[in-house]
Point group: C2
Chain length 480, copies 2
């Protein structure tokens, strides 16, 4: 901090924040534009500021290059205009690898090149609660869990009575879509920072169709949608671990068309200074994979799919050269609804089916928490009860030890994962690529064991006895 | 028999057969046309005859009405032309319900109105063997099994060396597509009659793509195809339990187009006097259900689908008003190939998923028979080793006790089957239609038990405790 209380340095990919006093009268959210231009050498990055209530304005910025940065503010309010300053961007602290980017047609990586595996989980409204103990518990559970991403909503469902809303007002009658509630956002950001500290990406779901006509946030005008998106980006985009999921189950929203979603997606693409990852997630169109969404659209960075069958991964992968993340495939649990009663084995199997084809499946759990109010992990976070989680941790270790692009490695003949799923073959005849020596391990994905086949290394055709066991994987590595 | 050895009577839907001596020189299969017109009252049915070798010609006919029939033969060979006779069609014997027909958009029935449930199995070449003991064993196994249909091929695969071929010749070099081998057909017919005696329909697969360029029967000219089809119909169509499956996995055959298959399907439609059931079965096009085949074509009587996921049944059912029969979904077994290593539980689950939506799944088994040559039920018949068969018998009893059209019954609110599949819900809340009293039974599809819920009959909303068990069905019947 400098003598005026301003930050004088920030690590690379950290958040530089500038607070300014400005007008509090009228509706500053709507009526007082504020932005800043951040400059590093000859590159200028324009960034929106935001009104944080009580006469306080803020500008948040994530510098992506080390060295000196300078900035100047722009506003129609004279108090906020032409403010200048400098700060130093220092090397990232250990554990800070920068934002996640798409690194290839099937892979993600952090900005520093470190590989990123999107093994997500789903806690739609874990941080919209009045129950801070449960929010803290969710964080403790996540700290011990294998997940590297959380899907979480910005807006409440029709059935919720949250303590705070993104917009001003505390009831459907008093909700005001021309103003925001800074207290909501400050709490949301606190939880984002908690996730960041855990090394977990936040896949923020901007809209969803579960409003039930109560808050009517699923049927706002395009202007209202953009007003919300711009505020959300001004506040949240500087956090390097934020992703944008335009909508959950977009096609359940009868108030918007695909053209509307494309408009909103392009709006985010235009205004996000950092080009965070962007996608959109379908509800119904699962029978016809071609129409889940046209993931080829330029504003979309990766395929965020809902489908019940991860065996289609290769199809989606080959249809569009963007990473496949099946963000919903059904949840482990005992819920009555069809989406929430997979066995742990079935869910784990889906993760493996996707993984061997270079795709990823997001976890979710719907065991009503008997010790609590009967709500579930996917809805409110809390404790995990399922059988899949430790096995997902095992899968994560297997994938961390594997090449980042399994499909490319298979084509090159250097490495291969195969998976039997629900099948119970007596054996599998493995055809090893010509001219190579290979080690073969038999992995029991459920019991989390790996055993190398004797008499290796192997060449040519090898019969691997599976003895009719399900959920077995083969790990095949070239050694020469 | 009359004094000249001719049949004087035949039961309704039985086979009337006329044998005639005729020319044996040259190539009578190709060069001697023979047909007959069978007349009942003022209705005339034209029927092709066929050459059966050694100067013997035959005409087979299935009368569909009781009373006196007369016939007259037509041929360019004077010996075979203008032969006349009469016979009496008597009432069908017990157990003879006539041919199976499509009875509605989701149902089949025998000609006498008796319901038919297509619970098929697959034994592609069980009756092409030199091993008559094994053929007889297959028949004994089928007699005790719950199956009502067998899918079986007319033509050999490239890997087979069958003792007899449909065409003349006994090797690829000597095979002659202008002549047939009556010994092959007589054996094939013997086995058809054995199935008929067991009350099992024969879904005869006319072409398949497994020739591997050896016999080249998958790449004959349209004229050769039609020559074969016409002979097959002349010999086999009179058997009331024969169905025509134009091809297995038609799209694996690169020598024929969909237009070719449509031409052949229409050819069968035009020449089959009895309009036996006709369909065609796909190999690859499983990702895009719209393109499996256009089952709306007029020559197709029912949808014969290959797909791995019976949960799509409602989709196919609603896309085309013809019964859905998933004739291939993978086989129970421990084969290495992906199509042959389902667990019994997985296969059974698929049958239930289809059944509750008004569709049917054909069984198959690929446990290499260790006591034999290592071949499997789907390939050569023999013994059954799997766990699904007794449970399919249980499903059959459930379906026999249910309305023929489960979908219509559900819409009417009189009867409903629900199935949980691989899900493990703690409970299911059943919404009973207004104003009715219902009995609810909980069926364990794997353990083959059914238990009525206490305190019935029920009304309104009923919570059924499932306790997280998979593969449970609910049977809900209106009692008032």
């Amino acid at each position: 901090m400098d003598p005026r209380g301003r930050q004088v340095s920030v690590e690379r990919w950290g958040v530089y924040e500038l607070a300014l006093d400005g007008p509090a009268a009228g509706n500053p959210y709507r009526d007082v534009p504020l932005r800043a231009e951040f400059q590093h050498r000859n590159r200028v990055v324009p960034v929106d500021g935001f009104y944080d209530g009580a006469g306080c304005y803020r500008i948040r910025f994530m510098p992506d290059a080390e060295g000196e940065w300078r900035y100047v503010t722009r506003s129609t309010a004279s108090q906020l205009d032409g403010r200048r300053g400098t700060f130093t961007c220092t090397p990232p602290a250990p554990g800070n690898h920068g934002p996640v980017r798409v690194a290839g047609p099937r892979t993600f990586a952090y900005a520093d090149g470190t590989r990123y595996l999107p093994l997500g989980t789903t806690c739609y409204h874990w941080n919209h609660l009045d129950d801070l103990d449960r929010e803290e518990e969710t964080l403790r559970v996540l700290a011990d869990a294998p997940f590297t991403k959380v899907r979480m909503c910005l807006l409440p469902t029709g059935g919720m009575d949250p303590p705070r809303l993104a917009f001003a007002g505390d009831s459907p009658e008093t909700l005001d879509t021309t103003r925001f509630n800074p207290a909501f956002w400050r709490h949301f950001e606190r939880r984002l920072r908690d996730l960041l500290a855990l090394g977990i990406e936040a896949d923020v779901i901007l809209f969803h169709p579960y409003d039930e006509g109560r808050w009517c946030l699923d049927r706002m005008s395009p202007e209202e949608d953009r007003f919300l998106l711009r505020y959300a980006m001004a506040r949240l985009a500087a956090y390097r671990h934020v992703w944008w999921s335009l909508s959950n189950e977009y096609d359940f929203n009868t108030h918007k068309t695909v053209a509307d979603w494309d408009d909103l997606g392009r709006f985010v693409q235009r205004h996000d200074p950092y080009q965070r990852l962007r996608s959109i997630h379908n509800g119904t169109r699962m029978y016809t994979y071609e129409r889940i969404y046209d993931f080829g659209r330029r504003w979309i960075t990766h395929q965020s799919i809902q489908h019940w069958d991860a065996r289609l991964t290769a199809r989606w992968r080959d249809a569009c050269p963007k990473p496949v993340v099946i963000d919903e495939i059904g949840y482990e649990g005992t819920a009555e609804r069809r989406w929430g009663n997979l066995t742990g084995r079935t869910l784990l199997r889906q993760l493996w089916h996707a993984a061997v084809e270079g795709g990823y499946v997001t976890h979710g759990e719907a065991y009503p928490d008997a010790g609590r109010d009967g709500t579930t992990w996917i809805s409110r976070g809390g404790r995990l009860h399922g059988e899949s989680v430790p096995r997902i941790a095992f899968l994560r270790r297997v994938l961390e030890e594997a090449p980042a692009d399994l499909v490319a490695a298979r084509r090159e003949g250097t490495y291969r994962l195969e998976f039997t799923g629900a099948a119970q073959p007596a054996y599998r005849d493995v055809e090893l690529p010509d001219g190579g020596d290979y080690r073969i391990e038999l992995i029991d994905t459920w019991n989390m064991t790996a055993a190398e086949l004797p008499d290796g290394p192997h060449r040519g055709r090898v019969r691997v006895e599976l003895k009719g066991r399900t959920d077995m994987a083969l790990r095949i590595r070239r050694v020469a």
